[in-house]
């Protein structure tokens, strides 16, 4: 029997007022006109709950751009799904927050681009964003909604990690995520501008470790390291098609948000197939599940059921083959490509390429 997914990542829209150069959305963004409608998303939620999903992450783009967000949160609550809103906060108002809370929203993850206002607004590509985010955090705490503050870090803001953690504590967050940029899509296009040097990484890690005892018992600090600097790959998504199911704005079901970069894979649409069928039988979900697909250097590795061969999209991006071992791994025949990217992280950064629609 195939274990059911734990969580649904519902990417309601790719529309967003920010233009972050490490956005996890694909380079080819879905158009508003192609988005699933309210009934389409409700059907996805029904099928996810029936399949065994426990948590739904409403994401984007900026999910607040959807006027039916409250209706979808209420629908999730009716199905006993735990709902998490992943937002930039720039369009949050007191009235909208009250409606979301009334609908049964459980948790909000609010993103910041930096603690320094000018730097934050340069990275996010939106003037005035920081003040709106700070106000959003205040509203969320005033409503006693559980808050996680998220910072994506890279070579242009990583020196401020200590200040980021302090700001999250000041805002009353119960969790803060210091997440190094992952290099897919927009992040990969901007890799030379974003990948930190080994010295920067070491300083950031030290700042996180120094902050842990200060906030122990009041705020948890989740630290996501940049895997380029590692010698073993991350267990991407907890293993391909093992814990997560992602649905894109246009309704394609994906094992992860970057999976559409894999060129020879057909991603089934929730408009035509049920989630259970997709999860259990589609080529997209079964091809890299488990260990049977793995190359010999993974097959003989004691860690193969810990890291699940790392990340398929990274193998594609760096080795040109989604079925190769993750080049981050020191046993990968393509590990040299990661080392070459790291060598570039000491050179001056090129200009940022901002996220933009087609």
């Amino acid at each position: 029997m195939i274990a059911p997914p734990m969580a649904l990542l519902a990417e309601l829209t790719h529309r967003c007022p920010l233009k972050c150069p490490y956005c996890s959305n694909p380079l080819a963004l879905d158009r508003a006109a192609d988005e699933l409608d309210t009934d389409g998303w409700k059907r996805v939620l029904d099928q996810a709950a029936a399949l065994g999903v426990l948590q739904v992450h409403f994401s984007g783009g900026e999910p607040m751009a959807r006027r039916d967000l409250e209706a979808l949160v209420a629908h999730a609550r009716g199905l006993e799904l735990y709902s998490n809103l992943i937002t930039s906060g720039v369009t949050l108002t007191e009235a909208r927050l009250a409606a979301l809370v009334a609908a049964g929203l459980d948790h909000i993850q609010l993103s910041f681009q930096d603690v320094d206002v000018a730097s934050a607004e340069r990275i996010g590509g939106m003037k005035g964003a920081q003040a709106r985010k700070l106000e959003a955090a205040r509203l969320i705490r005033a409503a006693d909604v559980a808050l996680t503050v998220n910072f994506v870090v890279h070579r242009q803001n990583v020196a401020n990690v200590g200040g980021m953690i302090a700001l999250a504590a000041e805002l009353g967050a119960r969790r803060v995520e210091i997440a190094h940029t992952q290099y897919y899509g927009w992040g990969l296009a901007n890799r030379d501008a974003l990948l930190p040097s080994a010295d920067q990484l070491q300083a950031a890690t030290a700042a996180v470790e120094a902050a842990r005892p200060v906030h122990a018992g009041r705020m948890a600090i989740d630290y996501v390291t940049p895997d380029y600097h590692a010698t073993q790959p991350k267990p991407c998504m907890g293993g391909w098609a093992q814990r997560f199911i992602n649905v894109s704005p246009a309704g394609r079901a994906l094992p992860c948000h970057a999976a559409e970069t894999i060129p020879d894979m057909d991603f089934p649409s929730v408009r035509e197939h049920g989630l259970k069928d997709i999860w259990e039988r589609s080529d997209a979900f079964t091809r890299f599940r488990g260990t049977a697909w793995m190359p010999s250097e993974c097959q003989s590795c004691a860690l193969k059921e810990r890291d699940w061969g790392g990340c398929r999209c990274q193998a594609l991006a760096l080795a040109g083959d989604a079925a190769a071992s993750d080049p981050v791994c020191s046993r990968s025949p393509h590990h040299g490509r990661v080392l070459a990217a790291l060598a570039a992280s000491d050179a001056p950064p090129p200009p940022l390429l901002y996220r933009a629609s087609r």
Partner: protein
């Protein structure tokens, strides 16, 4: 937490039965715990009204167990979850 504390789930934390896996689940911000049977029995009695003393009484009756034996375990388990931000009193 003390024996007369009244524990309740923190905002952003929900405890529910998971029919698909035939087990209880504790859902928290971007985390998910699958408590063992003993922990699930305790958490089912956390309702924001019962004190830890009352929870211990109920468990002792429910499982016909010596109250003194389980009181320490109940308190320690609830304290651990409070330390992790999942419960408040």
């Amino acid at each position: 937490m003390t024996p007369d504390s009244i524990p309740r789930f923190a905002p952003g934390v929900r405890f529910r039965f998971d029919k698909a896996r035939d087990a209880w689940a504790l859902l928290a911000p971007e985390r998910l715990f699958q408590p063992d049977e003993q922990a699930a029995a305790i958490l089912q009695l956390v309702d924001g009204a019962r004190s830890i003393d009352a929870i211990t009484d109920a468990l002792a009756a429910q499982y016909d167990a010596p109250r003194d034996l389980i009181a320490g375990d109940v308190l320690a388990m609830l304290q651990d979850l409070a330390d992790r931000g999942l419960l408040r009193s």
